[in-house]
């Protein structure tokens, strides 16, 4: 245990000769300290991943259930009663409150537990120490706490599914007063309390993780690893962590005030309300305040979700195009620009709330500015492919899929960011289509890409390539089939979060679009079964990995195929060049690891 706590200490006494200290058996680790309350970043990363996979499966099944309701309203599905119980799915028909609950928890799990906790938690933990050449995170203990807060938070969120009045059901944005008043919707009783507790713990987890990531990246880089020699993954994790540290506390404050309003009679968000047959005493608050606080987190949050995916993609596209990433510094610059701008655009979620129209104008301007660094990133990916020698690993397929969905979902953002146009499409299915493609698909594609690419580092085995291909192509087709037609629903005026559209005769002829969407969703869900089989099978029985299967330059491929405490058996590797020397003229191989010293006349970082 004594080696376990502080990476700095390990580095101090162990740079050269104490290599053997990291062999197995030297220190006595029990099952609990090794796999449960582990402080090793590799184990914690796997813990995050497995938890996220479980959460993602649950959220996906939820989406299938409510998609069935939207496509075939009133149709009886026996399995819905079996899964949801007689109260929520009597006779196999979902009830309206259960529908809203599913939509809410689907959103919450996907945004926070899968794409924030799961994505950052898995890959920041795995890659930061590996790619910067550190023995472990700056604080293994905080890192462990970060996972276990995440775990408790997940457990509480899931437990809210089993209580009498059901889980929170005010939408994942939980706008009060709907979320504040138990009279308004059953989900705002105990379910919302659990949601708020769960999210508070989630914020703790996120902060512990993010602070650790920042400190580790800044302080524990190995010799020669300057900031401009960092792989773009690390830059992405750094910017993401900074966004998280600055924005999650604001969510916490919003949640805290809501807790006060719910249980202590304060009126931060409440005013002039008559509900449940009586007027409430609370006067003077404003729900708009909550919206400001929520979106001050909420908008950076979408970049917290997407930036790690973009970082992962940068690394995978460069490696598998066998080419340097195009415009390395521009990529860093755009990430920083996106990160900065993400803090001054939150109002674009609120054009129609009655917020002062002038304020709306400011947010139109700042929001549309984000399109510029985003466009630069997309163009840089495409140019990286140009004249490359593309190796189609499953990870590469998902990375290209990400770039496509980032473009396709990004362009509709230009329409939504325009307050004038937002008047007609605000809160319609157009919005649902937009954010699922640009944020949902891109981020989950990035996560899949990362899993396929770094599976050998996580489980020392390889995933099956052919199943990976099948998984990608079925997912890619299915996913666009689900979300693309939603644009047309939105342009026909169909609002979000409607239990059924058939109460409006005017939408009757749109039902076939909804049916098409649902069938694609079911198809895409089955595609994920291929992934799950491949994932769990390969974890135990997959082909054994070799040291550098993708012929990559970064440091994580320089250590042996084993989970060594301290990551490298001997001294930490020394870095001599940037990570993107692929197909560099003057070298026999088409890759030059970062540990290879520069030749006398050779310049670093693509300088000529």
């Amino acid at each position: 245990m004594e080696h376990n706590t502080h990476a700095g200490v390990i580095e101090g006494h162990n740079l050269h000769d104490h290599a053997h200290a990291h062999d197995h058996g030297d220190h006595h680790e029990t099952f609990v300290s090794k796999y449960v309350f582990s402080m090793d970043h590799k184990v914690i990363s796997r813990q995050f991943l497995i938890t996220a996979v479980v959460m993602a499966v649950i959220a996906m099944v939820m989406s299938i259930i409510f998609r069935l309701q939207l496509a075939w309203p009133g149709e009886k599905f026996a399995f819905i009663e079996a899964l949801m119980g007689r109260k929520w799915g009597a006779d196999g028909i979902l009830n309206p409150n259960a529908y809203l609950a599913l939509v809410t928890i689907h959103g919450t799990i996907m945004v926070f537990f899968v794409l924030t906790g799961g994505l950052s938690g898995t890959f920041s933990n795995l890659l930061i120490p590996y790619q910067i050449g550190a023995r472990d995170m700056a604080s293994g203990f905080l890192n462990m706490l970060s996972y276990w807060f995440f775990f408790i938070s997940s457990t509480i969120m899931l437990s809210s599914l089993f209580i009498e009045d059901g889980p929170a059901s005010a939408g994942w944005t939980i706008y009060p007063p709907l979320s504040a008043l138990p009279e308004a919707i059953p989900g705002s009783k105990l379910g919302m309390t659990l949601w708020l507790i769960s999210m508070s713990l989630f914020v703790v987890s996120s902060l512990l993780g993010s602070l650790n990531y920042i400190v580790t990246i800044i302080n524990l880089r190995t010799k020669g690893m300057t900031m401009t020699r960092l792989p773009l993954t690390i830059w992405a994790f750094l910017v993401t962590a900074i966004l998280g540290v600055l924005s999650f506390p604001v969510l916490f404050s919003a949640v805290l005030l809501l807790i006060f309003d719910r249980s202590m009679g304060t009126s931060f968000y409440l005013s002039d309300i008559y509900i449940g047959g009586k007027p409430l005493e609370q006067v003077g608050g404003s729900p708009i305040l909550f919206e400001h606080l929520f979106w001050f987190l909420g908008h950076p949050e979408v970049y917290i979700v997407i930036l790690p995916a973009l970082g992962i993609t940068s690394e995978i596209i460069a490696t598998n195009s066998r080419k340097p990433i195009f415009g390395y510094r521009a990529m860093i610059g755009s990430m920083i620009a996106i990160g900065f701008l993400s803090f001054i655009v939150w109002g674009h979620h609120m054009f129609m709330t009655g917020m002062n129209p002038f304020l709306g104008s400011v947010f139109v301007f700042t929001t549309l500015l984000i399109a510029i660094p985003s466009a630069v990133k997309a163009f840089n990916y495409i140019t990286t492919l140009w004249k490359g020698n593309i190796q189609y690993t499953p990870a590469m397929l998902f990375s290209i899929g990400l770039v496509s969905s980032f473009i396709t979902g990004g362009v509709t953002g230009i329409i939504l960011a325009d307050s004038t146009l937002d008047i007609t499409i605000h809160d319609t299915y157009f919005v649902v289509a937009h954010f699922h493609i640009v944020m949902g698909l891109s981020a989950i594609f990035g996560m899949f890409a990362g899993v396929y690419h770094w599976f050998p580092k996580m489980f020392l085995r390889m995933m099956n390539k052919k199943l990976g291909y099948l998984h990608f192509w079925t997912t890619f087709l299915g996913a666009y089939g689900v979300f693309f037609p939603m644009h047309f629903l939105g342009m026909s005026g169909v609002p979000r979060r409607y239990y059924t559209n058939s109460n409006f005769p005017l939408f009757d002829n749109l039902l076939d679009i909804n049916q098409f969407v649902t069938m694609c969703a079911i198809f895409a869900a089955f595609a994920q079964v291929i992934f799950l089989i491949n994932f769990f099978y390969s974890m135990f029985r997959g082909e054994k990995a070799n040291q550098n299967p993708w012929k990559s330059n970064t440091l994580e491929w320089t250590n042996p195929v084993a989970h060594i405490h301290g990551n490298w058996p001997g001294a930490l590797p020394e870095v001599h060049r940037w990570p993107y020397d692929y197909s560099k003229p003057g070298h026999a191989e088409d890759f030059v690891p970062q540990t290879v010293a520069l030749a006398l006349d050779e310049h670093d970082g693509g300088e000529h």
């Binding site: 309206p96 007063p177 709907l178 409440l270 002039d272 509900i275 007027p279 003077g284 404003s286 066998r322 080419k323 195009f326 415009g327 521009a330 129609m352 129209p357 104008s361 139109v364 301007f365 549309l368 510029i372 630069v376 990916y381 495409i382 140009w386 490359g388 020698n389 593309i390 190796q391 496509s404 473009i407 396709t408 230009i414 329409i415 325009d418 307050s419 004038t420 146009l421 008047i423 007609t424 605000h426 809160d427 099956n464 291909y469 192509w473 047309f488 342009m491 026909s492 005026g493 609002p495 109460n503 409006f504 005769p505 005017l506 749109l510 679009i513 029985r541 082909e543 197909s583 693509g606």
Partner: protein, 343 residues
């Protein structure tokens, strides 16, 4: 019987396990590196990328072709034309970018699929190219921003016309009430503490201006060609007044009065004669007759567009756009507000 099933299942598992073992053993003995991408993998996936592009673009064009007549009909309000024209201009740009950039992506993905005998070119960056693709989007965005804000300011401007029609839309779980100011053309003030059965929208009964206010449910009428100034209130939680045919939307926030204004330019009767609308209504009625439901006629709708509880999906009100004469005749028939005065 159940036991037999379990036994069969267990045997199946064992058989599968053995099968996989054989596969794994032969894999490990031959020392194949199955994970490695071969030239044929690259060729296959490269081609699949190109094929996908055609399917994807074809799918998009097919959807535009099949779905476009189902989109919202022409705008029924004056400012809606501004929004629609700006929307169309934006769509042209956005669709162009969608095709070109996705096109490059999938084309390169196919064109540069890997082969063993080739090496990638070592290209690090290119300032000229990067300048171009920073500046071109910046210019395009400048136009989008300028026109967007110009129209936004026009739409949100106060006091367009000297004598607009005032209407209040009052939201609660799960219905709408419209209030007209009546003869004095002034709304009485509201007081939520006075809400009860006879005073459902919470008017201050001591305010004499309330006395002639007119409250209507289920449908409300507005005259064509007159500017309507809406004010929105909510009794309980946030709702959103969404009138898609008028390109109008505003949240109804408890404790706050919000507003939106527009001028309807197409009456309900005129809209029913619109070719686009007729096609949709015919299709809808065909579907409805198959289900044994009554035929419907086109109507403008006010929908709730902010999640508000179990019946959110059914919180609607009919809007009728009349000629001014018909509107006045309709309004005359409505009852004025008669609260039971509180002691």
């Amino acid at each position: 019987m159940t036991l037999l099933y379990i036994l069969a299942f267990v045997l199946l598992c064992i058989a599968l396990n053995q099968l996989f073992k054989v596969f794994e053993l032969s894999r490990d003995l031959r020392g194949d590196k199955l994970y490695k991408t071969t030239d044929s993998d690259n060729k296959f996936n490269g081609r699949a990328m190109l094929l996908f592009m055609f399917i994807f673009f074809g799918f998009f064009i097919w959807q535009v072709d099949t779905y476009s007549y189902r989109l919202l009909p022409k705008s029924a309000s004056e400012h809606g034309y501004l929004i629609d024209s700006l929307m169309n201009a934006n769509y042209v740009l956005v669709v162009l970018v969608f095709f070109v950039v996705n096109g490059f992506l999938f084309f390169f993905a196919w064109r540069y699929h890997g082969t063993k005998d080739r090496k990638a070119e070592y290209i690090v960056h290119n300032n000229k190219l990067e300048m171009i693709w920073t500046i071109v989007p910046a210019i395009a965005l400048a136009f989008i921003i300028i026109f967007g804000l110009k129209y936004w300011n026009e739409i949100m401007k106060r006091n367009n016309e000297a004598n607009p029609i005032k209407i209040e839309l009052y939201a609660k779980q799960f219905d709408w009430t419209a209030r007209y100011p009546g003869a004095d053309n002034e709304f009485g003030i509201d007081d939520y503490m006075q809400i009860d059965g006879s005073n459902s929208v919470g008017l201050d009964t001591l305010d004499t201006r309330c006395k002639d206010d007119i409250l209507v449910k289920n449908e409300f009428h507005i005259p064509v060609g007159r500017e309507i100034v809406f004010q929105f209130r909510s009794r309980d939680i946030i709702h959103s007044a969404f009138m898609p045919h008028f390109r109008a939307q505003m949240n109804c926030v408890p404790g706050q009065i919000t507003s939106f204004r527009f001028k309807p330019v197409v009456t309900t009767a005129e809209m029913r004669k619109d070719a686009h609308v007729i096609r949709n209504i015919n299709e809808i009625n065909e579907i409805r007759s198959k289900r044994g439901e009554d035929a419907i006629d086109f109507d403008y709708l006010l929908l709730c567009n902010k999640i508000c509880g179990a019946s959110h999906y059914n919180m609607q009100m009919k809007i009728v756009v009349d000629t001014e004469k018909d509107y006045i005749a309709w309004l005359m028939k409505q009852k004025t507000f008669k609260p039971i005065a509180k002691k």
